[in-house]
């Protein structure tokens, strides 16, 4: 339901609703999927890093910083899979040329432009930021499960499985954050 319970109650809904909701359409080549996942990890990484800077409470800042650090590691794992699949040690075209995306624009899950998400986050309560972060993680889990099914090769499957498990761990931390009295 659009806007969730707050819309139902007639209160003003929070969240970048105009961006709509979307899920990853998996009918793509594995290399394109890896490139897309890298771009989305990059977007999430930058989103969390910025949230870490904006939130002055040490515990809140630490949560976002740790999430950002993890997403940075995920990018390395994804490029590692790409390198091994293609045999290319370095590829200046990775990841954007594989997807023919506009340069200089960062995205987060659902195809939302990172700057739109960052603008929205200005002045939002922590709860709303955590809600949005949960949607990023859910989509990431969904993406990695689909990629694990689609790629061939034991190692790539194992890495995608590990990535989806790590995103599940993020989900647990964020949902715990929702229930915590900060």
């Amino acid at each position: 339901m659009e806007g969730g319970i707050r819309a139902w109650n007639g209160l003003r809904a929070a969240g970048p609703l105009d961006a709509g909701m979307a899920y990853f359409e998996p009918a793509q080549k594995p290399e394109e999927m890896i490139a897309l996942a890298w771009i989305l990890e990059e977007g999430a990484c930058k989103f969390y890093r910025e949230m870490g800077k904006r939130h002055k409470d040490p515990d809140e800042a630490a949560l976002f910083r740790e999430l950002s650090d993890d997403e940075e590691k995920h990018k390395s794992s994804l490029f590692g899979i790409y390198r091994r699949r293609t045999g290319k040690e370095a590829d200046p075209g990775f990841p954007r040329s594989l997807l023919s995306l506009e340069s200089g624009v960062d995205y987060v899950e659902g195809g939302v432009v990172l700057n739109t998400a960052l603008d929205w986050a200005q002045g939002q309560e922590l709860k709303d930021i955590l809600d949005f972060s949960i949607s990023l993680e859910l989509n990431a889990i969904d993406l990695y499960i689909k990629m694990e099914r689609k790629v061939e090769g034991g190692e790539a499957k194992e890495i995608f499985q590990a990535l989806s498990n790590q995103e599940r761990n993020h989900l647990k931390r964020l949902t715990a954050g929702l229930q915590k009295d900060w």
């Binding site: 339901m1 319970i5 139902w8 709509g20 909701m21 506009e102 195809g111 889990i141 949902t175 229930q179």
Partner: protein, 73 residues
Amino acid sequence: MGIMDYFKPVDTWAPDKVRQFLNEVSPQDYNLVDVRTPKEYEQGHLPGAQLIPVGELESRLKELDRTKPTITY
């Protein structure tokens, strides 16, 4: 090709449409799922909504009848 070519939109309904649907359709014919925290659920939820916190959704999907429409909030 744009970024949105890699995503497929999820159908979202405005609250009024959900209200109309819930009024007209028997509860046996849909899944209504509250994915928030137990604390939020206790504070108020849609009548008949089943609580499945988002973190448990994946492991509890079998509790939902996939042949019926599912509304989440």
